[in-house]
Symmetry: C2
Subunit: 232 residues, 2 copies
């Protein structure tokens, strides 16, 4: 029987945000992470959740998890130095404690992911071994140095990767190990699969599934969350 | 005396949108183009406006322009085959009728541009000859073929170009001519400057300054417009 676990990563340093606890910043009345967890818990395909907390956010995230309105099992684990170390810790809990066969890794700082995205990306990962939510690039891309444009980069075939990203548990464990052996540091786990030549499928993302990265993102995310709640 | 003219391009075919008159689609109670025009008209740095209409939208856009609450001169001209042909038509009107020395080219389908963006990009163009509004890429970029990821593309130094984009009138005219001579088709006019080795500066954009490209963008743009109006 397939067991599908969402690993919600909330261990980032928030360097670009200037806030080490950015996933706990309030957005439309709730911490960013609370929205991310709600989406994972509401996905029919998700059987259980692992939350990966940061060095100084364990107690506050534990309190948030206790308030979650879900009957699904939720485990809390500490993160590591790099994003991929945090995912490895989450994966260990998902595989050992929760018997996961496939996992969906999600950024706690993406509060606008939907349950349907979890369902779609987990389904694609079961067929292909790995899948990511992504959207095609529509803006013209420029390479910039010292505040000046260097060149236009062809955008044909370029997509912006979002999360959730889903992986078969065995393959993700192997990919993380091999990444360590090769000394690779990546911005998402799919990059490890690519480095190993393993297939990664695309599931349709949403332009609204934005990540809280810079302070300027706050009003944008809040507007989208309020609008969704008003519609819901 | 510098004369600064905003050229608002509303002549696109809306292929990805499935709507040839996408700039006239209602967003938060007003056509997308009405929001774009309001931002241009409200910018202190903008002395006059040229609106470039499409093949079948001239009458409706003329009606929209008549309703604009601005005392600034507004001219309406027909677009051309490609985006750069439409800009060339707008530039001719700006330069000949309105004595422009610098122009800010803006997509009619970007309703969330702000007057401050027009001010910043026109100021930068007067210092450097050309400038674009842009934001750093924060998502991981993937090259995709046939629904599968091919590779991760390094995002370091990559920015997403938005509009407005501003240019000295003489340089933009030369760049458009040279682009025709070389047979270049571009997705923004800054690319012509880059091809000629001319400097293009960056002015800070905003993650909310999204373009109406796909039907899925409509709820996102509406949420952002409603939130801005509520705050304003």
């Amino acid at each position: 029987m397939a067991t599908r676990v969402a690993i919600v990563v909330a261990a980032g340093r928030g360097t670009r945000m200037g806030a080490p606890d950015k996933v706990l910043l309030p957005l439309a009345g709730r911490p960013a992470l609370a929205w991310s967890l709600r989406a994972a818990a509401a996905a029919a395909s998700v059987d259980a959740i692992v939350v990966v907390h940061g060095e100084h956010t364990g107690a506050r995230i534990a309190a948030l998890v206790r308030q979650m309105a879900t009957t699904k099992p939720v485990r809390l684990v500490a993160g590591g130095d790099r994003r991929q170390d945090s995912v490895a810790n989450g994966l260990a809990a998902a595989a050992v404690d929760l018997w996961a066969t496939v996992v969906a890794v999600h950024d706690g700082a993406r509060p606008l992911a939907t349950p349907a995205m979890f369902d779609a990306v987990l389904d694609a990962a079961e067929r292909h071994g790995a899948a990511i939510v992504a959207t095609p690039i529509v803006d013209t891309l420029k390479r910039v140095a010292d505040g000046m444009v260097v060149e236009t980069v062809p955008r044909d075939g370029l997509w912006a990767a979002q999360t959730p990203q889903a992986f078969s548990v065995g393959r993700l464990a192997d990919a993380l190990d091999e990444g360590d052996r090769r000394g690779l540091t990546v911005t998402d786990e799919a990059a490890l699969f690519e480095a190993l030549g393993w297939p990664v499928a695309i599931a349709p993302g949403d332009p609204a599934n934005l990540k809280l990265t810079h302070p300027g993102d706050i009003p944008v995310l809040e507007a989208l969350l309020w609008a969704r709640e008003g519609r819901g």
